[in-house]
Each structure stands twice: as structure tokens, then as C-alpha cells.
């Protein structure tokens, strides 16, 4: 890269440091090409910068191209242009005021990514902690309402990169549906008589050129119902990460979390920055790792939300272990209602990965007849596990009736 020929700074130090700064940002996951650095130096060179703020906004307008990168940039700017004495001296012409760092309770979003990019060795030790698991609560169901708050570890740049890769490979079971509407296309397909006629009018009908159309395809909406009760709490970080990635990739994704109550976190997950999204989810939900009331929350969903979000042939992804204690009849009724209002109901059960899983639990037996697919998920600790479980089309091994056969139940 040729930044040496920028003449404004004969010693070239500022240019060099901007280069290092850009590299820091790149390591923190921002997409920056070499030309961005050249532009950046040019912009600084245009002059007119009178203080640190101007310098900040000059770099900002060239290096940041997405809203969600603003956090990363802000953190990196504070850390980078503070921690290095050499730079500080050189920046004296930009009135080097120290950014005042107030003590804060929660780390700012994206801080983990930036500090990892700046100090790779140090951050290796503080691998993200998983949310604590209460062993005695796992794999038991209770309708007890416990209101808890949750704090998720921040995502590292490596995790995000892996997630993106996994998501790009994944195909949802019903990825696209053909609609009855047509759209015009520029290649040879079905003849579009109406457009041909309209277009020929321009030439007074002398020239009639063929125009084409084809049937529109669209992605059906995806509605996610995920269990966040105690028995599922160890997976919730992975879930939310997956839902966030899914909401980013597709247009209509609605996400609901349930334990003892139902929470719609669709809007929280629309935040482009994953850390902010997780934090907002954590704030919105009041019943983390509590008990489960599947029937009641499903009832609430069916009553309040199903008409609003299950239109246009939605697919429902249900993620729960199905350990539930409420009345069979009610649960069966609500499951049935849900099943009848969507195109496809897919149940993802983390219990299924254990060998010798039997659909013996009462809740599972009640729900099974009402789902279209019953899929296992091998490792829920990583997002790739979820992607591989949900990807791909229907196979007969997902047929829920496999698990309902009497010999399996008896064994």
C-alpha cells in the first residue's frame, strides 16, 4: 500500500499511525480496504481540523460505513489514541485531551472485540464465561415463576466470523415458496403479454418485442418460539446468537422467548450489533432460567400473536425440551391450534441427542403428534450445531411418528 507519497506530513508518522489504527479496526471485525486508509490520510490532510473531535469525525466518516460499527470505532478510538504515548505527542496539534473514562458497571458493547484486536495476548486468558448453570434445576420442569436477570458474555470477533460462515452455509427447510404473482425478468422465460403490449405502444405499435415474466418466489416468515427455562438456560446464549444471525439474513423473522411468560424479542434482536441485541434481550425478559409453562405461554401466543405473525405461510421453529407439567389436554389443544395455523411446525429438541431417548415424558408425548418434524440437535454449544440441525430438507428420520411407535415407548 502506498501511503508514503502523502506529502502533508513529511515524517509520515500520522499516516503510519492511521494505518495502524485501521489495522486495529480490521482486526476488530470491521471491513476496511487499503483505499480507506489512503482516503483517511487525504481527509486529514484537507485540513480544517481544529480539535480532537474534528479528528474523530474525520476518521469516522471515512472508516465507518455501517451504523453498527460506530460502537467499535468509538471504543477503538478511545483505546488507540490514548494508549500510545508517541501518538499522543504527535496529536498535540489536535489538542490531545484525554477521553474521560467514567467508571461503568457494564462493559460497552463491542468492547470485547476491540480490546481483543488491540491486545491479543491478554484477552486470551479471559475467555468468555458461559452463563452459570444451576445444576439442580437442569432437566427438571417446574411451573414456579422465578424472575431472574441475565448477563451474557460479549461476542468475540472469532465467534462472529464463525457464525457468519455457518449461517452462509445453512438452508432452512422451507427456504422459498413460489407465489402466484409474476415479476418481469430480463431473460427468456414465460411471455408477458401485457408488458409486450404496453411497451409496443411507445413505438406506436410498429415494434413488438418479446417481454418475459416468471413466478415470484419469496421467503416465508419464520417464527421462533424458544424455551429459556432453567433446563434450557445453558443454551440460551447460542440460541440468541443464532436468532440474531437469522434476523439479519432474512426479512421476516419473529422471535419469542418463553419460560413462565411470553416475551417478544423481535425488535431487540433487530439491533445490528450482537452485543447490544443480547443486552436488550436480557433486559426485556424477566423470567430467565425459571420454570416452564408451555401450555399457558402457547395459549398467550395463539391468542395475541398468531394472527399477526403467522400469516403468509409462516414456518414455526420451536426449541424446547418439552419437559412440562401442565394439564395434557390444554397443552394438546394449544399445540394443535399452533400446528393448524402455520405452514410447518418444526420442533428442535436438545434432549434427542442422548442415546436411548424415549418420548416418555408426558409433555413430549402430548406435543409430538402435533409437529411436522422432530429434529435432534447434536451440539447446542455452538451455532454450527443449530445450523446443521435446522438446515436441509425433510428426511424421514425427522418424522415424529418414529418416536410414537409403541415398541419404542415400551422399550
Amino acid at each position: 500500500m502506498n501511503v508514503g507519497n502523502i506529502k502533508a506530513n513529511p515524517d509520515g508518522r500520522l499516516a503510519e499511525n492511521i494505518l495502524y489504527f485501521a489495522r486495529t479496526l480490521r482486526a476488530a471485525g470491521m471491513k476496511l480496504g487499503p483505499s480507506a486508509v489512503v482516503d483517511c490520510v487525504r481527509a486529514v490532510e484537507q485540513g480544517g481540523i481544529s480539535d480532537r473531535d474534528d479528528f474523530y469525525w474525520t476518521l469516522h466518516c471515512v472508516l465507518v460505513t455501517r451504523k453498527e460499527d460506530r460502537q467499535v470505532f468509538d471504543q477503538a478510538f478511545k483505546l488507540f489514541w490514548r494508549s500510545r504515548e508517541l501518538v499522543e505527542k504527535m496529536l498535540q496539534m489536535f489538542s490531545p485531551m484525554m477521553a474521560d473514562d467514567k467508571p461503568r458497571e457494564k462493559p460497552d458493547a463491542a468492547e470485547a472485540r476491540v480490546s481483543q484486536a488491540l491486545f491479543p495476548e491478554e484477552s486470551k486468558q479471559q475467555e468468555f464465561e458461559r452463563p452459570e448453570i444451576e445444576v439442580d434445576a437442569s432437566f427438571t420442569a417446574s411451573a414456579r415463576e422465578v424472575l431472574r436477570e441475565k448477563d451474557f458474555a460479549q461476542m468475540s470477533a472469532a465467534e462472529l466470523a464463525m457464525a457468519r460462515q455457518a449461517m452462509s452455509k445453512m438452508r432452512l427447510p422451507v427456504a422459498e415458496v413460489v407465489t402466484r404473482r409474476f415479476k418481469s425478468v430480463n431473460r427468456v422465460a414465460r411471455i408477458d403479454p401485457r408488458k409486450m403490449l404496453a411497451k409496443s405502444m411507445r413505438t406506436g405499435g410498429d415494434l413488438v418485442l418479446p417481454q418475459f415474466r416468471e413466478q415470484k418466489r419469496k421467503e416465508p416468515p419464520v417464527v421462533i418460539l424458544a424455551d429459556i427455562s432453567g433446563s434450557m438456560s445453558q443454551y440460551s446464549r447460542t440460541f440468541l446468537h443464532f436468532f440474531h444471525a437469522l434476523s439479519e439474513n432474512r426479512r421476516h423473522v419473529h422471535t419469542f422467548l418463553f419460560g413462565t411468560r411470553l416475551t417478544n424479542v423481535t425488535r431487540q434482536l433487530r439491533n445490528k450489533d450482537i452485543d447490544v441485541a443480547l443486552q436488550e434481550c436480557a433486559d426485556a425478559v424477566e423470567d430467565w432460567s425459571g420454570g416452564t409453562r408451555i401450555a399457558e405461554t402457547l395459549h398467550e401466543f395463539n391468542r395475541l400473536w398468531s394472527r399477526r405473525v403467522l400469516g403468509q405461510g409462516a414456518i414455526v421453529l420451536m426449541i424446547t425440551d418439552g419437559l412440562e407439567r401442565s394439564e395434557d389436554l390444554e397443552l394438546a389443544h394449544e399445540m394443535d391450534r399452533l400446528h393448524r395455523s402455520c405452514r410447518r411446525l418444526i420442533w428442535l429438541n436438545p434432549l434427542l441427542r442422548f442415546d436411548g431417548f424415549r418420548a416418555a415424558a408426558k409433555g413430549i408425548r402430548t406435543m409430538l403428534p402435533h409437529v411436522d418434524e422432530f429434529r435432534p440437535v447434536h451440539s447446542l454449544d455452538a451455532l454450527s450445531g443449530l445450523c446443521s440441525a435446522l438446515g436441509g430438507s425433510y428426511q424421514s428420520k425427522y418424522d415424529p411418528s418414529n418416536w410414537m411407535r409403541s415398541d419404542i415407548l415400551a422399550a
Binding site: 481544529s50 469516522h60 466518516c61 413505438t203
Partner: protein, 299 residues
Amino acid sequence: MPTIPASIDATEELLASEGYVADRSFATVLYLALKMGRPLFLEGEAGVGKTEIAKVLSSALDRPLVRLQCYEGLDVSSAVYEWNYAAQMVEIRQREAGGVGAGDSVFDERFLIKRPLLKALEGKPGKSPILLIDELDRTDEAFEAFLLEILSDFQVTIPELGTIKAEEPPIVIITTNRTREIHDALKRRCLYHWVDYPDAERELEIIHSKVPGCEESLSREIVAYVQRLRQVDLFKNPGVAETLDWASALIELDKVAIDPETVSDTIGVLLKYQDDIAKIESAEGQDILKEVKLELASA
């Protein structure tokens, strides 16, 4: 004739002279965009003054404004140029009737219908137009790719005529509402700025400059209330445009202060979603007004 500002301060003054209240960060970006001849890429919620900036620049710098409103299915023939087929046909018939041979081609500039992008390339030096590409996120990606050529070289190729290149590139302003992500290749060629909701002080200034008839105490209340609303978890936060509409509405109703009744009568000016309105009309919403009043009284 007004020229392009020579410093960030001058840019701020220029905007202020047209009644556009901008913060320092925005003035910096705008200054750099004008100075470096780069397109300015503005993102932000609806109603924060993205489109307005193009109009302000056009009148401040005394240059024509060429606006390209994007929509799904926008194609080259409605964005760049189109041949006037009917006129061409008439010309050919006339030539036939007059016994004149084929002679000159009918692919002449006389038969070219110029659309916004082509018009924007016609600027004379020092007088090049402001090209506003509004709501770019509404077009499809194919059109975005087409824009790349225009935005990097400021030229258009018409097969029958050749390449048309701008004598002086236009000042380009692109706005999006983020209904989808714009490709990096396009963003890379621009200077990016996220237009945020203004803070209370700046919003007050905006009301002063845009709704001059609004009394000081009323505008303070309006700003405090709207700022407070933006902190509530709403489906769509009220933008600056809504604040201004509300201020004018309250003046029309001869109000000098906000009271719960006024709020519930005029809330439709600020909030446009039924869920949001229901939320504000509940007890929680009533508390907001009380708190705002208390705050103002204590300040």
C-alpha cells in the same frame, strides 16, 4: 455567487444561514465531502433531516437540485435516459415523405429524453448541480451496481452516442432508511454519516429557526416531551419532522402549554402506530408528562 466553504466553521455558518441546525460532526463530514468531491452517504431514521440537507445546500450554494427518488423496479430508462421513440418515428416518416435519404441518424441528442442522473452530469464548472439520490435502499441491487460507474467516474455510456462525462462532477447526496443493507462497494466510494436524533439543545434551536411563532416556554416543553418519548420503547420514535409538525399544530390550536388533554388530542401528529399511541395514552404515558413538567419546573 456562493462558493464551497473553506473550513468546518464556514460550513457550519453556511448551514446556519439557511436555518439548518447541524452539529459539529455533521459539519465536518459535509465539509470533507464538498472538499474531496465525494458523495455523502446519509443514513438515519425517517424524519431526521436527511433529504432536507440537499435542499438546504441547493439554496445555500445557489445550485440546481436534481432529485432521483428511488423505488423498487427503478430502471435505467427512468433514471438515466430514454430515446423518444415517437419523435424518432415521426422524423423518419417525414424524411421519407420529403424524399430526404436516411442521412443523419435519428440517434441524436434532440431525441434523447434526459432523466435525473444524466441531467446531473450537465453542470457547468462552478455551477454543477446537487444530485439527491433519495432512499436508495428501495431500489434493487442491480441498480445499485449501475450507480457505481456514475459515482466513481461521473460518466454515462450511451451506446448510440458515446460516453457523456461531467465537466464538473455534481455534489452527490445519498440517503437511505436502512430497510436493507447497501453494498460495501458503493459505500466505500462515499463518506458515511449516521444522522441521529438531535439532543435537546439542538432540537430547541431547530424549533426556533423553523417555527418562529412558537413561544419559548412552549418549545421547551415540546422538546422535553419529545426527547422523553424517544427514551420510551416505541415502535417508531418521533423524528424532528414530527416535532416541528407538533409545534405548528399546537400553535394553530392556540396552546401555550402542554396538558394531558392536548397531548391525547394531538398525539397522532407525533406517533403513527396504534400500539405506540395506546402505550402513551395509558397510565405510563400520563406519568411521562408529569415528569417532564416537574423537570422543567425544577430547572
